[in-house]
């Protein structure tokens, strides 16, 4: 029995993918000699999430994020390893388990297309057998939090992508799940919608103490919600630890924002990212940032100087560039 909400140990998923060369001859040959390639979508992944924790699950396309989330939610059977979520084995898909989780995928539509979202919410009530009082309270609370009071009576087909996504999320959480698997919940949405959904997830987590695993290609989502991230690449965990630790460990450079008393060419000190009059942004190797800063202060009259970490997107790109076969790191 684990005290963690989610416990994963040595989780592995291997797909057997048939493949053949192009052309008629290859097609005929494949009739008698079928070639199957093993694809290790997830390989020996281990981690735990404490109850109430929000963790960013990051990786490039095809890294194994969605496969992992599908195994955690019970949609896929693992090829190996152990998974326990709220004390349940997800692949058994027990009703008692399914009532406590939700999986929101940014590209899925579970609402009744021709009807107002309110009708779909009513259906959720019946599916999850939510007591009427609790259902009405939760529904009204969520509608208010998402600011969609004027939209819930419109047929879903008449809503914008962002509005539909808000409804999807409300519908997915009406039964007040204890574990949320959110797979790209802000995919394709504008900045305002993204912000609203982020704040909703944060509020839900705070009010209901839910555990959240979030994948997103928008680092703003991750920075706003997650203190901890798990980075996965080629099916293996590359990093598991604090988001700030990820920057410390992987940021290869720092950015110096310099305002000179008189314009000058600073190309010899590092890579000039931008130069507008006396304002220069310089990218320098992380290890040399202090020494270069000292040299700049000694050689030029500076009216302002800032030292900044690179944008988190750049750091993540750096992590993905790291060899996937090195042991997982934690921070």
């Amino acid at each position: 029995m684990h005290t963690s909400a989610i416990h994963v140990n040595g989780l592995t998923k291997v797909y057997h993918v048939p493949e053949r060369q192009a052309g008629l001859l290859a097609a005929m040959r494949s009739l008698v000699q079928r070639k199957v390639r093993e694809v290790h979508a997830v390989e020996n992944v281990s981690f735990s999430l404490a109850p109430g924790e929000i963790v960013g699950f990051l990786g490039p396309n095809g890294a194994g994020k969605t496969t992992t989330l599908k195994m955690l939610s019970g949609l896929l059977f693992p090829s190996g390893g152990e998974v326990s979520v709220l004390g349940h084995v997800p692949s058994r898909r027990e009703a008692a388990y399914l009532k406590q989780i939700t999986l929101v995928m940014g590209n899925r539509n579970q609402l009744q297309w021709d009807l107002p979202a309110l009708d779909s919410f009513e259906l959720q009530r019946a599916i999850y057998r939510i007591p009427t009082d609790q259902f009405q309270t939760t529904r009204d609370e969520f509608i208010e939090m998402m600011e969609v009071g004027d939209l819930v009576r419109k047929p879903v087909r008449n809503l914008s992508l962002g509005e539909r996504m808000k409804m999807e999320i409300i519908g997915a959480l009406l039964h007040r799940p204890q574990v949320l698997f959110l797979d790209e919940p802000t995919l394709g949405l504008d900045v305002t919608m993204q912000r609203r959904i982020r704040s909703f997830v944060a509020d839900y987590n705070r009010r209901h103490g839910a555990t959240v695993m979030l994948t997103s290609h928008y680092m703003a989502d991750v920075e706003a919600l997650c203190r901890r991230v798990i980075v996965i690449h080629h099916g293996k965990v590359l990093y598991d630890g604090a988001l700030s630790g990820l920057v410390d460990r992987f940021a290869a450079y720092r950015q110096l924002g310099i305002t000179l008393a008189e314009p000058a060419d600073l190309g010899e000190y590092g890579e000039v990212v931008s130069a507008e009059g006396s304002k220069v942004v310089l990218r320098v190797p992380r290890a040399e940032a202090s020494r270069i800063t000292a040299r700049l202060l000694a050689n030029y009259a500076l009216t302002d100087l800032t030292i900044e970490e690179p944008p988190i997107d750049d750091v993540i790109a750096q992590v993905f560039a790291t060899e996937a076969d090195q042991p997982a790191m934690s921070g």
Partner: protein, 264 residues
């Protein structure tokens, strides 16, 4: 569970009433098939001195007018829809709900049937005015018919679910579906009343579920069955429902395991 069935059926009713015009055209389009059968058999009956195998033109009219409703009760989630359901991710969504997806289909299409019955009444009235059916059902026949059309719906739902679930293993099953539908057309009472089939075909049909989804409900209302046959028919419907349900459960478990292994 009743609450779920009612809520889902209500959702289907609201949705289908939004598409009432489309539903009407769909139903009117379906009338062409029985009207052709009716005209052909009535012509043969008249040519043969007024009847064929005990069916007068009026009896044929009754058979094929009731046929139109039973045909609609036979419309369930098609096996072709399974591939679409998997591709669109709807099966994954259904698997995440704490309720078997079979309930979803039974409840949704059940709700749709209620709309169909309401829309069918004026169509049946017009057909009756044109073709003058001989139809004098007893209260027992009406009662058995009212139950049998839902029995038919359940049997066909189970067997088409079974066919559709083959999609878990392969999507190239159109030929198999076509074969199934061809056998069903011949041995169900849809193309021709069961009593007009040759004896060997009737014997073959005894071991298949088809006549209990089509011929039996029609015959229950048009008055060709004895009380014993009516009640035995309902019992056989229950048996086929249970056989179908058992097979669905068996294949479903294996199918979901397969789906979980290869992904959706």
């Amino acid at each position: 569970m009743l609450d779920y069935y009612w809520t889902m059926a209500r959702t289907a009713i609201i949705t289908q009433f939004q598409y009432r015009t489309a539903n009407y055209f769909y139903m009117i389009g379906m009338i062409a098939e029985p009207v052709i059968y009716l005209v052909v058999w009535s012509t043969i009956a008249t040519a043969q001195g007024g009847e064929v195998g005990g069916f007068t033109p009026g009896a044929f009219a009754a058979y094929y007018i009731v046929w139109t409703l039973v045909r609609n009760m036979n419309i369930v989630f098609t096996p072709y829809g399974w591939e679409w359901r998997i591709k669109r991710g709807e099966l994954s969504a259904a698997l995440l709900r704490p309720i078997h997806p079979l309930h979803q289909d039974l409840a949704y299409f059940g709700g749709w049937k209620l709309v169909v019955i309401v829309l069918w009444l004026p169509i049946a009235a017009i057909l009756a005015l044109i073709f003058q059916p001989t139809l004098n059902p007893t209260p027992l026949e009406i009662g058995v018919f009212a139950i049998a059309i839902w029995g038919a719906y359940l049997i066909r739902s189970m067997f088409l679910w079974l066919l559709g679930m083959i999609t878990f293993w392969t999507t190239r099953v159109s030929a198999l579906y076509e074969l199934y539908f061809a056998v069903e057309l011949l041995l169900s009472g849809r193309l021709v009343p069961m009593s007009l089939l040759p004896p060997w075909a009737r014997d073959l049909a005894l071991f298949m579920p088809f006549q209990w989804t089509f011929g039996f409900p029609i015959e229950a209302l048009v008055g060709t069955l004895s009380t014993t046959e009516l009640l035995t028919g309902l019992a056989i419907q229950v048996l086929w429902i249970l056989i179908g349900l058992g097979l669905v459960q068996l294949v479903w478990r294996a199918g979901v395991r397969r789906y979980g292994a290869v992904g959706g």
